[in-house]
Amino acid sequence: MNAFFKNMSTSVNGQAYYAESVNVSESIQIEYFSAMGTKNYSAFPTKKPEGSISMSFYITTGEEINAIESGYANTGFSSIQVGPFSTDYALLNSFSVSSDPNSIIKGDATYSYYGQINSGQVPDQMNDTIVPAHGAASIDSMEDFGANRILDFNYSFSQSFDVKYSLGSPSPSKVTMTDATRSMSINNLISDTDYEKTNLTGASGLCNNNEGEGISKRTGCITLKTLCQNRVGQLDISGYIESRSFSASPGGELIESLDITEKYVKETGCDG
């Protein structure tokens, strides 16, 4: 096999990504044993090979975000292709996006896959020019959390699964989701902050009130745009402020940092 960076085109469920870096690694659990009276040892695998795929990519279209978000709280497997390697048994572990005001916006995604990765033909190099989302053009709507304009953000989603095999089955036979959390960390100048709204107990103390100022779920989003003002996608959060901190450097204004956490429950559309 002759493969280079230029051959490692990456896709998830058919959606292509412009990955700045991509890593594939896998391992297998092996039980080593020997018996009395022998001068050798043997080994056998105790589990199917498992691995992980991580990629850091430029965000250029909403479809790229949607394809990853389709894995949120989803026990169905995703198909991933990385150059000549492929798997049909991948589950999303984490997805994060972060940016500051003068930077290109990039995403990071990590998948776990089950069973040894397949290998096939080495893809040819492709040619394209991209216009990625950029912090200088994106728009934040975090007023519900007391932040009128933010300095930077870190959006992240993580989830964990319990993957079961059954006797005689080469692939996982049962997948159950154990936890899913979506979070957003933001920094904002104290002069851009509605301070009372960022109180951990809310403006009305621990009790909820009608205005949503107590311990109540609040929502916000960041709209990702390119420098040419084209809309790329949106990152949503609907949760609670779990922590806040304040910092200042010499000569500088106080900066408030907020950590917002949402226990992610998939909207299935079924009430019954």
């Binding site: 005001p101 893809p123 950029h134 420098l227 000569g251 204004e253």
Partner: protein
Amino acid sequence: MYICLGMAYTRNAYQDQQVFINGTEIKGVQSFNGSWSVPNNNMIAAGYESVGSEIEGELAGEVSVSRNVVTGEDPITGMMNGMVSGYLLYGPHQTKNKSFNFNNGYITSYSSSCSIGEIATSDFSLTAYGNIGTGAISDTNYEEINPVIATANDMTLNTPFGSTNAIQSYSLDFSLETRPIYRIGDMFTPSKYEVGTPITVSTSFDIVANEYEIKNLLDAVCSDEFVENISFSLNEKCSENAIQSFTLDNAKLISSSISATIGDNLSINLEFENQFSDVTGLIYNIFS
């Protein structure tokens, strides 16, 4: 007989150029340097290699101006605490129809120096955020002045070492760590600015030593011996009328060096520092 070989190009000589900042023409300018650069990130992607480039970083320009001290008024000292805008005006044959403009600028450094046989200088630089390059020209006036030049032999120095040792030169400089604050969606134009503190003013003197003895380094510990009140003024030629004055109360001696070679006078360099918590305090104390 003259032969015309093609289109004649003219040039922008120094008399075609003027520097304006905040609507005021800066006098005594010896050189002006303006620049900007685009911080392009050349993007690569697996499966593609190059996928183009995109701007990543600050869009900022730099301007530096060197001046001789030729007037008793320095408008720059009053511009250190806020935003400045201006331009280098040029155009062949004093047409003054072209400019290199800068906006949202902040003074980032100031320095003044003079040695024996020189005219005192007063240089500064600034960083401009947002638009820098072509722009509107609002003022092209030229006001003739009679230069009042500050030369080395027309200085008044009040130092603990100057009366018995020959001061050969002084150098005073400071930098203002202007930090632009960008917010998401600012499109490279900062919303606010802040200045890092403390602001350190460094002043150094070269002296031909007569009686001066370099202080003992360990005396810097728990002692006021290294603290001096220093002031000096640049005077109008053949006069004691001050053009520009510098006051450095409680200046701390931070370094001393001695140099002796065959054929040269023994020379000593002394460097002092003053710290300030804000630009206003610095201007009030140093330039008053």
